[in-house]
Amino acid sequence: MPSDSASPAGTDVVLRALADPHRREIIRLIQDTELPAGQIATHFALTQQAVSQHLTVLKRAGLLEERRDGARRLYRFQPSSLEPVRAMLDEFWPDALERLKRAVERDHPKRGAKRS
């Protein structure tokens, strides 16, 4: 088998991201809740810029997701980053199609006649 250099690199990125105690603490903070960068920063005796750099490292490793809400950036731990792609989609698509069915049938109720 040829060695697959991409995968260990991916793991390395994650392990490196976790090698820093501040970044591990950030993950703990946003494990179950979404927080703005400013609020995360108040937990540390670090500059907001330093915290922002830690957040960037974690984001690149796929460990957290970033959402913009106006000028604010909100962060949350990304559990799906732990799942293999296939396992993620195996559950994702059936759920999504069920939501599609509900949406279409709610938007276009069948009563033998069109309703507006």
């Binding site: 260990p8 793991t11 195996d90 698509w93 199609l97 949406a103």
Partner: protein
């Protein structure tokens, strides 16, 4: 896109009490895509057009490949920021089959990361989970 990818596709289907004409735009119209699939959508429904959805915070990115209303739509799919599953790296085919006054939607998601790749990642994530468990068990007291 030269490497042959052999991973078994993910498939899913659903039966909907509406015609294909009614169902089809839910895959191409941003206002309808956000009713079931995405929190936000930027869709340009023509071959080569942008397919960009935010799905539970995951930035799903790709392009439309084929659009044949109301029967079939094909788009690529990947997640921005996931090196193992980059934007455009996999393909989703959606087929709408009319059955009486209903539609059977069949979705096939192909060209997913290979089994080898996945296995090696599973090892990687297992390792990571162990570390995270350790972290959770002994939280840092920095405050």
């Amino acid at each position: 896109m030269t490497e042959p990818l052999v991973t078994e596709p993910v498939t899913a289907s659903v039966r909907i009490a509406a015609s294909p004409e009614v169902v089809f735009p839910y895959f191409t119209d941003p206002a309808l895509a956000t009713r079931w699939l995405a929190d936000a959508a930027l869709l340009d429904a023509r071959p080569g057009g942008t397919f960009a959805l935010d799905v539970r915070g995951n930035p799903a990115r790709g392009q439309y490949v084929e659009i044949d209303p109301p029967r079939r739509v094909v788009f690529t799919w990947g997640i921005e920021g996931r090196p193992d599953f980059p934007p455009g790296s996999s393909t989703v085919e959606v087929v709408l089959q009319e059955d009486g006054d209903e539609t059977v939607v069949t979705l096939t998601h192909r060209d997913l990361p290979t089994e080898d790749y996945r296995r090696s990642h599973q090892g990687g994530w297992g390792e990571f989970l162990g570390i995270l468990a350790g972290v959770a068990a002994s939280p840092l007291s920095s405050s």
